[in-house]
């Protein structure tokens, strides 16, 4: 046999990528996931349109209610909720095969002898999975088309942000699955490890949803909570980088632990270094928080004039709240104002006074219960209101500011009465059939 000419790195990468895609297409788990996603997205979308239409009927009669009708929260977040389910429960079973099957079959021993670094090999596997993930967005694309044809409103920045959130969530789940497969001896063990991570994160978010302290902090780091930021349309640089870093960490751990020819001590050292570097990056981003409100009605932002004024506060603003952590007034206050203030005021401290309510309809033993105290530059004021319209003037008064709000266009909402049940055929019959045909073609080597 004459001495062959070996392919370039680029050609090699292309060949391996094709091979990885071929392997994925032969995976029954992938096609089962795609069919289930199609059914779930269809169900969620049709239900969401139905509920949105019911609310829109009222909003069309009472225009002042229409401002609450935004398609992101009403249609797209519930529709993409189907992806959250599949990414949490089904995607790990597809992603685990990327490495687990190669380990089990011995193919990994051959792949590791190719002139590709473990980083490149894992990267190509990730790209292959990314292409498959894009295919899984077909039902979502169909939902967008149907919504558009029904006359529904689409605000692209919101959709792109939502997609980015699900992309990062999927990336993290895939990287966790790859790492689980790398360190596990069998596919079932890897699946258990990965599900423990994704479902554990889900449970953590649920348990910590209304808690302060350590549990609350841990809950804010859960995958579910990170995804929620994207669903709300508020992009925080810290969250984006934390989310990406978490995926990157598991990817790097996979790269580090993939090659069986390297010593465990060396791998442990590299893993620790990766963890430290990424922790430093995340903590550095927390020092300079940046936010972007991508919602059409800028519901996460104060009036631009208020934001500009609050950014000028050069002394710390301290707010002491006499409310129980479970009190709905506190939850409203946090959501409606404190979060917006935190994004505008350069230095703000929020303190929670030791207090507790005695029941929904009982009088509190503490006379201060419900009180909110404000302190700025040695001046104090207090109030029982949790309304933005009353609190902002207090703060401006303490700081000696006069603020005239900018005139902004009033968001009228996008109420729509529509019927999406006609699309059921597409989601429940045509798309699943399409995926089934894809599975058969792949099985016959024609895809």
């Amino acid at each position: 046999m004459p001495l062959p000419e070996t392919p370039s790195k680029k050609q090699l990468a292309w060949l391996v990528l094709n091979q990885e895609i071929r392997s994925l297409l032969l995976s029954p788990a992938l096609w089962i996931m795609l069919i289930i996603v199609s059914l779930l997205v269809g169900y969620s979308f049709i239900q969401a349109v139905d509920l949105f239409s019911q609310a829109s009927r009222t909003a069309l009669s009472f225009p002042e209610m229409a401002s609450g009708m935004n398609p992101l929260e009403g249609i797209f977040v519930p529709t993409f909720g189907a992806y959250y389910l599949s990414q949490t429960l089904l995607l790990p079973f597809v992603a685990i095969r990327l490495i687990g099957l190669d380990k089990q079959s011995g193919a990994l021993k051959l792949l590791l002898q190719l002139p590709l670094s473990p980083f490149a090999l894992c990267g190509l596997k990730l790209v292959a999975m990314g292409i498959v993930w894009l295919a899984s967005l077909l039902p979502a694309a169909l939902a967008l088309i149907v919504w558009n044809n029904l006359g529904g409103h689409i605000y692209p920045p919101e959709i792109i942000t939502l997609l980015a959130g699900h992309g990062l969530y999927s990336l993290t789940v895939i990287c966790i699955a790859m790492f689980a497969a790398t360190i596990s001896d069998s596919l079932p063990t890897a699946a258990m490890f990965c599900l423990a991570a994704t479902l554990g994160s889900w449970v953590l978010d649920f348990a910590a949803s209304s808690q302060n302290g350590l549990l609350g902090t841990l809950g804010s780091l859960s995958l579910t909570n990170m995804l929620r930021q994207f669903e709300s349309g508020l992009l925080s640089m810290t969250h984006v980088i934390s989310f990406f870093s978490l995926g990157l960490l598991f990817f790097l751990l996979t790269v580090i632990w993939l090659h069986p020819g390297k010593r465990s001590l060396l791998k442990s050292g590299k893993s620790l270094a990766a963890l430290l570097v990424l922790a430093l990056v995340v903590s550095a981003t927390q020092k300079v928080p940046q936010f972007m409100d991508v919602t059409e009605n800028k519901r996460h932002s104060l009036n631009p004039a208020d934001s500009r004024a609050l950014q000028k506060l050069d002394k710390p603003l301290t707010i002491t709240i006499h409310l129980d952590p479970q009190d709905s007034r506190l939850l409203d206050l946090k959501h409606d104002l404190l979060a917006k203030l935190a994004r505008s005021v350069p230095t703000m401290h929020v303190k929670y006074a030791q207090t507790q309510s005695t029941g929904l309809f009982s009088a509190s033993e503490d006379d201060n219960y419900g009180l909110i105290e404000y302190e700025y530059n040695g001046h104090h004021d207090k109030n029982y209101s949790n309304s933005q319209n009353e609190i902002l003037p207090i703060i401006y008064n303490l700081a000696g500011l006069q603020v005239t709000p900018d005139s902004v266009a009033v968001y009228g909402g996008h109420p729509l009465v529509a019927d999406a049940t006609g699309s059921r055929l597409w989601f429940h019959i045509f798309l699943p059939l399409l995926f089934l045909c894809g599975a058969l073609l792949a099985h016959r080597g024609k895809l």
Binding site: P2, P7, V16, L26, G106, L110, L112, Q113, P115, G445
Partner: protein, 234 residues
Amino acid sequence: MPELRVIGINKRFGTYQALSNVSFTVAPGEILGLIGPNGAGKSTLLECIAGLLPADSGTIKWQDRPLSLEERKQILWYQPDNILPFAEQRVAATLSFFRQIHGVSSKDLAQLVDELELPPMLAKPLKDLSKGYRRRVLLALALLSPQPLLMLDEPFDGFDLRQSLAVMDLLRDCRTGRTIILSIHQLSEAEKICDRFLLLDQSCVLGIGTLDELRKQSGLSTREGLEEVFLAIT
């Protein structure tokens, strides 16, 4: 000058010593047989040389230059035993993948496929093949590799006598410019194809040399075969 020099390889799995101070050399173009019973450490040794297992100590040199993990990819190809790579894909697709990876022409692949009598199996997934055909596919994958050192783990396992002889002819054909290390537990096959033998048992090298040299070492006459030599030495 030897092509490959393995110096003082030690490997331990917990308290079990799998390889104990294993050293040997292989000359250019030579076929060296690693001989030993199951569990002697043959596969572990090959994996340590290939860099797929970290040796606790020892050095691998190629043409008197220590080999890093990256350099080993250019110098050697190791075909493990008992693997079923890309089992769900058609044999043709897997062979084509490795053909392109190694830059081999379609014509050369077709010739190799013919020599291994694989054409009827090309459209089937590897997992659906019999043990013998799986072996042939794995052998084809190994023979497609261009590296100057080829290491095969149990290449004759699953073949009948006629098939083994055909495979030996193939290996002899491909040895031009290549050095080959075969891990074999069937001594009759090893005797037919290998130039020298490394006898491995219970993690230690018990002897290395040609059959004549090993006969002398064990004090046996020239009529005795490798089996008798192996039994005498172990």
